[in-house]
Amino acid sequence: MQFLIDHITATMIGGTVLLILAVAQFRTNEAVVDQTSYYASKKQVLELTNMIESDFKNVGLGVPPGAPVFNEVTPTAIEFNLLLAPGDVATSAVRYEAVPIDTLELDGQSEPLFQLRRSVNGVLTGQSPPRMAEFVVELRNIEGNPVANPEDTETIHVHYALVPPFNADKGFIKKTYWTRTFLAPNL
């Protein structure tokens, strides 16, 4: 009888130890995936920022006085004119549009995912990963208040968030943000 109790006790202790180690290993793996996913997302946000910044800082560059700078401003799209390269003789129409691609369950709610597409004179020239969860462009005055008339724009507020590429619904950080307000010296 004593022999049996010893074996049962040893098995329980061994099982407990193995369970603790297995859980620790599982959580370590989860944390590594979480971190890798977050930093991949952050890298993509910063790359996207590089593309966006050079356009938004130069909105209206080279546009003749009196000619419209903004061709279209909607909650999901903005199109504006500027000289893209120093040697250009005519301005180009640069368009950013958030196109719905998919949906994702985040915190129990279904959220749409977009892909931000950049086109120049109607030709697609760049795009974000198809995991943009938020995209906001707002034309504002210098005090930061939205303007009704695009011609009154002094600053352009851009805000977006990307969802990490793996385990987005279970990850610790579910969105990676970037937010900037550009002074538009050419407006």
Binding site: L21, R27, Y38, H159, F172, Y177, W178, L183
Partner: protein
Amino acid sequence: MSQTLLALVALMVAMQISMVQQRSVLNARLSMVSSEMETVATGAGLDILDYIGSKAFDAATATQTITDPANLTSLPFATGGLYTDALDIDDFNGIQPYVYSTDVDGIDFVVQIEVNYVDEGNLTESVLTPTFSKSVTVTLNQTSLEQPVQLTRVFSYP
């Protein structure tokens, strides 16, 4: 007796491993939060620097063109003003702590600003006499940041 001790040791080692792992996960998460905050703080800091750059270089240059730096505001710059009341770059020096609100989940930063004249031949060196270059250092702080984010930009006249 020795079997019991060995079993206890095994449990303690397993628990120790588990605690180390938990601490490691916690540190990784804190690091991610701090990294995320730094990204948002950098955007906010650049916005603030852009806004400061939109103001006149100096009270003396707001209404006229000057060629002699001796006509610029002399040191020490006034302190204790409000961010929203500043009319030229040095008015931002030592402002009362300003709360900058972002539209990212209600994250706010406490902003402090320091303005100095810098040597035009060496823009990293502060000087005590007026020059046509001012360095502006914006410090953003928030409880989730491991350390404050500091951004410096030099503005020159004309």
